[in-house]
């Protein structure tokens, strides 16, 4: 039987959830036995090779490119897991949601004390920003959510191994944290 395929994706967040996934340490050797990795920022597969079994996404949705890629994830993944605070509820980046986007851009690119000849970036080669940072579940249907900033490696491991053995991931008290 073919190994289940896993893809991971990353939107507006800090990559900490992916790092936490690497914090499973030596268990990554077991993981490689269990699954085949498809599209992921930790490898060079940039496009889905076909349908995958489990997609895990980190980060909130803050620009049009995030939306496009997230939709690809939903289309290609049988099970979609939102990983970490940003994916679940926008996380720290969503602190910008109560500030007008204009003010955020102006602060970074016009008013910052080291800015020399500021301009707000507007080239077609960079994505358009959304008004706020959206949780993943407001944009596509999410099957499971793993809280934490980031979720601990044990949390990720427990959830992944449960899903891979066809069980509903049920997490013990110590593994559910919002911070």
């Amino acid at each position: 039987m073919a190994k289940p395929k896993v893809a991971t994706g990353h939107f507006t967040g800090c990559f900490g959830c992916h790092m936490s996934l690497l914090d499973i340490d030596e268990r990554i050797i077991d993981l490689v036995e269990l699954v085949e990795f498809d599209k992921s920022p930790i490898n060079d597969i940039k496009r889905f090779s076909g349908p995958v079994d489990i997609g895990i996404v980190e980060g909130g949705v803050s620009n049009d490119e995030n939306v496009e890629f997230l939709k690809q994830f939903r289309e290609n993944c049988r099970i979609l897991i939102a990983m970490g605070a940003c994916a679940l509820n926008g996380g720290v980046p969503s602190m910008r949601n109560t500030v007008p986007l204009k003010e955020c851009l102006e602060e970074a690119f016009l008013n910052g004390p080291t800015v020399h000849g500021g301009v707000i970036p507007n080239d077609p080669d960079i994505p358009n920003l959304l008004d706020r940072v959206y949780p993943v579940h407001e944009v596509v249907k999410v099957d499971y959510a793993l809280p934490g900033c980031p979720p601990s490696a044990d949390t990720l491991w427990a959830a992944l191994t449960a899903l891979l053995s066809g069980e509903e991931p049920g997490l013990p008290y110590e593994l559910v944290k919002y911070d």
Partner: protein, 482 residues
């Protein structure tokens, strides 16, 4: 995939750039004859930290801004803490606090460098720049070089354990606060870490040897690959010693001459400015006195090894001397030399951890100091990827009114663009573009270990596209790589 060779202007887009930490994209504009006309390395995320921390309480900064980056959160955690030490009126934290922070920081340098070298960069080095896609990842390394990969995993684990012991969590802990830390290192925690620290030095040296072997095997190619000359920036101790946690700012030119030295954090505005270009959410810093054309510089392991006068741990210092011989009296400029320098620092970090773990101050009980409140705090730190500036202003009510963050990867922005340009000229110009050739571009970017999460105060991944545009630059076709 092959790109049509008809007489059209073509735009090559690498998006996402993978095996780097963050969201970036490369576009290469080719003219009718396939010559490289223009290259750009775009940062495509924006998060707005500078604005939304305004109005927050100043002691929250270390826990908010570390969320810039999940790879080197400790750098932001500590840079913000140090800046807020100043705001809290604490010029010198207690010995316990300083050493806990240093231990945390060396733990991070160690894990981050191990991560970068083994998990992200080694596939290129071990399998070749144009190896097939399925080989170019840590899992393939795991399959073919299981011992190297296993040690890499455990090295990173060790660094993360150090961070956890000092900050409470492996990622986004809370150990450091304005004026000090919230815990010391328990004897049991110390014993556990001490038991493995010699092995960690040993493995770091093995990693360094591996890097050297690979580099020396193809020295000519690697020295030229994507190389160019530049200024270098680093903080150094007062006596010029490498110090990743604290010190004053030094910038040297391409010949190793000092442009300035021993600049204090509070004065940074006199020396640094940032240019904004409309095609990237990442700014372009430069030395004010040199102007934006000539004032750009490189930071990170290569810059630090080049800029310091010596390293205060024995193995790393010996290795530094061997490394510097490459430059023949001038700084080493090769892009790929970043990896070598990074591994020297990995050894140094391990040696430093050993030194600190033996220090009883870590079990001290004076955790936090208080002082007379000030309204401005600037601090820097040598993050794994280079010099990181944090500047805050705080009002009488303790609310942050201004935040300016110049992060390591931003400091390397122009350099990475330069690397892309040079590699495109070296490998893509006039050629039929293949997937393997495009990976060369990414190899060059990867050498800088860009933490694009930090840089954009955002994070994500890059993909690779080839866009065909007509002579007016209008898009005709666009294809994803991979």
């Amino acid at each position: 995939m092959a790109v049509s060779t008809s007489n059209q202007k073509r735009k090559v887009v690498i998006n996402p750039v993978t095996r780097v930490e963050g969201h970036g994209k490369v576009t290469i504009q080719l003219d009718e004859n396939g010559h490289v006309e223009r290259t750009r390395f775009h940062i495509i995320e924006f998060r707005g930290f500078e604005r939304f921390v305004q109005g927050r309480m100043y002691w929250e900064a270390p826990i908010i801004v570390q969320r810039l980056c999940g790879i080197c959160p400790v750098s932001h955690h500590l840079a913000a803490s140090k800046a807020m030490d100043v705001v809290a009126g604490v010029d010198q934290v207690s010995p316990t606090a300083e050493k806990m922070r240093r231990l945390m920081h060396y733990g991070q340098t160690y894990q981050s460098h191990a991560l970068h070298f083994f998990h992200l960069a080694s596939p290129d080095l071990l399998f070749g720049f144009d190896a097939p896609v399925e080989k170019r990842n840590v899992l393939a390394v795991l399959a073919e070089y299981p011992d190297v990969a296993r040690k890499a995993v455990l090295m990173r684990q060790y660094g993360q354990e150090v961070i956890k012991a000092t900050s409470g969590k492996k990622i986004h802990g809370t150990g450091s606060l304005p004026g000090g830390v919230n815990k010391n290192l328990g004897a049991a925690e110390r014993d556990t870490l001490q038991a493995r620290v010699d092995t960690m030095i040993e493995w770091a040296v093995e990693g360094l040897e591996l890097c050297k072997t690979i580099t020396k095997a193809d020295l000519d190619k690697l020295v030229k690959f994507g190389s160019f000359e530049s200024n270098f920036m680093s903080i150094v101790a007062e006596d010029g010693c490498m110090d990743l946690y604290d010190g004053k700012l030094r910038v040297i030119d391409a010949d190793g001459e000092k442009i300035f030295d021993q600049v204090a954090p509070a004065d940074y505005l006199d020396y640094i400015e940032e240019e904004v270009r409309p095609w990237s959410y990442m700014k372009f810093p430069f030395i004010k006195s040199l102007g934006k054309e000539k004032g750009w510089y490189r930071v990170g392991p290569l810059a630090r090894v080049n800029a310091c006068d010596y390293i205060d741990t024995p193995i790393a210092e010996k290795e530094r001397q061997e490394f510097m011989a490459l430059g023949g009296g001038r700084p080493v400029h090769a892009t790929m030399a970043y990896h070598w320098a990074r591994m020297i620092e990995t050894v140094h970090a391990a040696e430093k951890m050993k030194e600190l773990l033996a220090d009883p101050d870590l079990q001290g009980t004076e955790l936090r100091r208080k002082g007379e409140r000030r309204n401005r705090g600037v601090a820097w730190i040598e993050a794994p990827r280079g010099t990181l500036f944090h500047h805050y202003e705080v009002d009488e009510q303790d609310k942050i009114t201004l935040a300016n963050l110049i992060v390591s990867t931003t400091n390397n922005n122009e350099a990475m663009n330069e690397a892309v340009r040079v590699i495109a000229d070296q490998y893509l110009d006039g050629k039929e573009i293949t997937e393997g050739l495009l990976n060369h571009i990414e190899v060059g970017i990867r050498a800088y270990d860009p933490c694009l999460s930090c840089a954009t105060h955002a994070l994500g991944q890059m993909r690779l596209q080839v866009r065909l545009t007509d002579a007016r630059g209008h898009l005709i076709d666009e294809k994803l790589r991979g």
